[in-house]
Symmetry: C2
Subunit: 401 residues, 2 copies
């Protein structure tokens, strides 16, 4: 009789977005005339840049002609034209990468989930709390021990390492989802030093790096000395260039990153991952890679930075509103997320209902991201400016009463 | 200290295509003037159909406009327009599917490799030999016991179940890669009955179904009664519509497929897979899904069937040549592969060198696909007609001597 992976049965079902949808549905049915403003979902709303669309169409045309048709990609790790473009992008913030260190994928979520395959199930996993649920879920499926580092009001929702606690694999996300906090170079250096000391590997989620405007803040963990000996970085064009429906990202695995196997041999993480992907992945659609490469051209950067600036303007307005109201928050600058403390000691869900019922604004209750999210709330800057301004106007009126 | 998944170290490195490339390189360097005809690689060569290219470009344009922009796909399992098109395609050969039973993916290889995640590591895996290497590799990575069913000259390279042997998960591929053999309905019924009796699950790889012309042969395992209680089917547009570089496929998991967990509860395989994919996959690029849907339109079917007919004409010519020469083979009809017995009792690699050195034709040594491939050789019909005809002319001249 076939046996399922019973670790799946131990997984907590994440009811967060289902619960939100239910409450929203009930409210809409009871109040059909109210105009609801959604600031809960982490999805972009602005269209792809024109230069990106043109590149994808050109790629599609090439597939339609015998002379330029592309079948299987030899390496399955991305065409050189795209890997070179990504390497050039990293160079712009001071990180030097070999083409072999870059793996093109269909979005960071796949690699972030699948990377667990190359590690043993006896590793101790460290996740900061609150966090993006994939880190916990993908390791729970493999039956691994997970421990947490608290991100809370005291540390500005930027958890720091505790040398008395051992961890083998560490998930960090900066700028953070959901808290919007960004590690400084000094803070990231502490994590890198901790990892090197413990012999652990950091999986660094840089999905929101494009929102960093402060040149002193690291946009890659590889801005930190020593990181190439202990870190893997994942990034995507989802938020950088509006690729949530287009699907393209990249993983950086340093050539020099190795782990000692039980027989004492030094095993290359890059080679392990190649072995995994060689059996379970066949590369990214050619026209999508063309579109992705266009993002990194000067014109592509100009056009995609306009969309980011639009979202940043929203975030700034939200931050200013909260400043005005005297509400504590992290994020808003260098991040598309605002993570705010629910006023009047309200709970996350209480505040959710309060906003929905009174001003028809929908956000995300912080406790959905982990225990340290209790009493906190996430708003995103991915809506239209008009809606964001209207929501902030309503919020001011509500909380000034 | 971080621990790797040591199962990776037990994997045999597949040197097949590396060895072929090495021998080819050496020959080319020594014989720069010789015109080599490659009949080894299972990749298509004809461009995408015009209607498919247009659909992809239209999808790209939609992403470039605010009104029609698409972000994350809600379900991540494929847009209804594509799932409905796939359901309609299945209906054309007599299989009725609910939209919920279809999962759109970035090619069969991903799901075929990732599906192992939802099953326990204590399952016994049955693979027919010779076989596409992903079945073995993805289970070896998980440290599972693998047993083999022999496909050989006696059974027409179509292994049948042995009731005295127990297996929990069974991989079948029909039309088969590499042998080109196709299971009849009666043969597949035997496998389904075996699976139902053993409480096992069949993972059915239908990647080459579009090459079946005989209406009596099953194009889906769901043509067989009882299969919805014991099978998962994987297919892709790679060979059906030349999508090897475009990347789109689909997995069919019947709604009624369940497994009894150790606590006695009935667990839905569909729900387990949704849980896995919900954490590790974010859906297929929207323009690619538009392109895929175009394949299933009447015009798309007409245009893509033309390419298949072109490859089938190659296969027919190859089969006729081998008939002429009195060489035994399987495939060629209902399959893009021809699997031939090396003449004069040559070994697979001996015949490889013999063809390369004498007539500059490159194929794939059968032993690269498993022990039963020793003394056999794979040729593919995916080249141009001119090259195929030239190769067959040279083969005739060589072997008639």
């Amino acid at each position: 009789m076939v046996k399922i992976n019973e670790n799946f049965l131990t997984m907590k079902k994440n009811y967060l977005f289902i619960d939100i949808a239910k409450r929203l549905k009930k409210y809409t049915e009871e109040n059909p005339d109210k105009q609801i403003i959604k600031m809960g979902i982490g999805d972009v709303t602005l269209p792809l840049a024109p230069v990106v669309v043109e590149a994808m169409k050109k790629g599609a045309d090439e597939l339609g002609k015998k002379e330029t048709f592309k079948g299987y990609e030899d390496s399955g790790t991305g065409y050189d034209f795209l890997k070179d473009a990504i390497a050039g992008y990293y160079k712009s913030f001071g990180v030097s990468l070999n083409s072999s260190e870059i793996r093109v994928n269909d979005g960071a979520k796949s690699d972030c989930g699948n990377i667990v395959d190359i590690f043993g199930d006896d590793n101790v996993i460290l996740v900061t709390d609150p966090a993006y649920p994939v880190y916990v879920d993908s390791n729970t499926m493999a039956g691994r021990k997970i421990i947490y580092a608290d991100s809370n009001e005291e540390n500005g929702f930027a958890a720091m390492p505790d040398k008395s606690v051992h961890a083998d694999i560490i998930y960090l996300c900066s700028p953070n989802n959901p808290t919007g906090s960004v590690y400084t170079k000094a803070q990231l250096k502490e994590w890198v030093d901790y990892a090197l000391e413990q012999g652990s590997i950091i999986i660094f989620d840089a999905a929101y790096e494009a929102f960093i405007t402060d040149p002193e803040l690291p946009r890659s963990i590889f801005c930190i000395e020593g990181a190439k000996k202990c870190a893997i970085e994942m990034c995507s064009l989802s938020k950088t260039a509006g690729f949530t429906g287009t699907r393209c990202g990249y993983t950086v695995i340093p050539d020099e990153l190795t782990v000692t196997a039980s027989d004492g041999s030094e095993v290359s993480i890059s080679q392990l991952w190649s072995r995994r992907q060689g059996s379970k992945f066949n590369g990214v659609s050619y026209p999508v890679q063309c579109a992705a490469a266009a993002v990194f051209t000067p014109e592509g950067q100009k056009q995609t930075r306009e969309a980011i600036a639009y979202y940043q303007r929203n975030a700034k307005l939200m931050a200013e509103t909260l400043d005005d109201l005297g509400i504590k928050y992290t994020g808003g600058i260098n991040s598309p997320y605002i993570w705010l403390k629910c006023p009047n000691n309200m709970g996350s869900w209480e505040f959710f209902d309060y906003l929905l019922n009174n001003i028809q604004v929908v956000g995300t209750p912080g406790e959905g991201f982990g225990k340290n999210g209790a009493g906190w709330f996430r708003l995103t800057a991915f809506g239209t400016y008009e809606n964001t301004a209207e929501a902030m106007k309503r919020l001011k009126e509500l909380l000034r009463k």
